[in-house]
Every structure is written in structure tokens, then in C-alpha cells.
Symmetry: C2
Subunit: 151 residues, 2 copies
Amino acid sequence: MLEESFQDQGSVKHCHGCGTDNEKGLRIKSYWDGDEGLCTWQPQPHHCGGSGDIVNGGIIATLIDCHSLNLAIAHAYRAEGRPIDSSPKISYVTANLNVSYLRPTPIDKSLQLRAKIVKLEGRKASVRCTLSADGQLCATGEVVGVRVARK
Amino acid sequence: MLEESFQDQGSVKHCHGCGTDNEKGLRIKSYWDGDEGLCTWQPQPHHCGGSGDIVNGGIIATLIDCHSLNLAIAHAYRAEGRPIDSSPKISYVTANLNVSYLRPTPIDKSLQLRAKIVKLEGRKASVRCTLSADGQLCATGEVVGVRVARK
């Protein structure tokens, strides 16, 4: 993890999930780990669900969505042999997000997200993502992203 | 809409999506409209996605998740002929959340969520939810919730 995060190499500053400058956002950081994307994130108390000791399902969905799309974008730049955010800029938008919640996600633990591209077809990228706490799998997600042009 | 919202009748105060007292949360309000649940919500600028003029996909997932579960809970109380939050308390947790993003959701519009219970089977409730802005359908979701005991 000597490299800068995908987000710090990019120019998306305001996104609620991954924008580097959104002070009210989650500001996740994603890194290469071989061919996979890795993200470690610490929930805050206000990210809780119905019970104060677990993470809200929507927060989990946001983490999985943004981390997976950031991996799809980083992968597309890498496949073209050029740095993240070089021109022409690459972006992905989410077409479908499917999250399965396997067990309560504790709010006081550091969460680990691991994402992997499982299918590339035309402009579509399918990404599978796991969310674990203390080595225990808490949620899994599948994200279908569609590549779009970005100014 | 003369009735209090489901959330204001309940005692979940801190949930990031629907807790009435979470100042950093989304604080959605859900109401009966016949057999369906209705929620109107105004995004703020920091809820944006990669582009500043659209709503982040994770925020949309959070709205759909919390609104749908609140409907499942309200429906369960109504089916038992008793007020929301009466004892024994009823809660639902999300087992699966599936969101399809049909078009960009504008950040400067009021969003309308409409949720409907489509299947009840044992402890499971399946809820279908739409999210529209200015009458245009922007996203659809399916949420599977599981009923759990609550203290």
C-alpha cells in the first residue's frame, strides 16, 4: 500500500461515498491488492442502524457501491496502460447494486472491503465485493457499472 | 397525511437513515398512503455522486432500504391491530437489497419514494420501492426484510 489511493489519484472531490473533499461524506480510500481493490474504513457512531452497535445497511451499500466503482475505473485505466485521471477521463455509473447482509456489522470495528472484477462485457463491468469485520464476513455485494464519458 | 410519520410514532432515534434524532443522518419520514408507504425527501448538496448535480447511489440505496423496512414494520403492527411501537416491539433487519438505477437522480429536486409489500412468508417481508423525481422514475428497489424481536 505504498501507492496513493485511487481516490487521491483522481479528481472526484465531492462524491458522498468517495469524494476526497466531502467533509460530510464517507471519504473511502481504495488501493490495489494484486488485481483486487482493498479498502479499510472505520464507521463513526452516527453511521449506525436501528441498533446503535451495528452499521446501517445503507452505509454498507454505499461503501460497496463506491469501492466497487472505483475499482472498475482504476481497472479501466490500468488496462489502457495509463494513470488514473489521465485524459480521456474514464467514469462508471452504477446500473445495479445487490447487497446481501449476512450478519450484523459491528460499528466499533474497522471494516475491510475487498472487490474483484468478475465480468467485463462491452461498457459493463460486474464487480463482486465482500465486507468483513475482524475477519468475519458481514455482507457481500454485486455491482454492475456502466462506463460513461467524463468531462 | 394527517397522521404522524412511522418514524415519529416509533422509538428508533439514532438510525442513520431514519432515526429521528440523528443530526448527521437522512431522517426520512414515511407515511401511509392506502396500503403503500410514501416518503418525500429533499437531498442536500453533500449527498451528491461523482457529478455534483446527481444523488449518490448509496444515498438512494439508503433511502430505499430504510423506507421499505419502515413500511414492513408499520404493516406488521397494523396487521396485529395495534399502534407502532406498542409492546411486544417489532423490528425488521435487511437480508437483501437490490437497487436498479434507471436514470440520474437530480439533487435539486424533491424525491418521492413509494413502497409496497409484495410478499410475506414466515418472518420474511419482500418490499418493492420506487424512487421518482418530478414524476420521472429514477430507481427501483427490492428489499427483503426479516422480522426480529426487539427489546
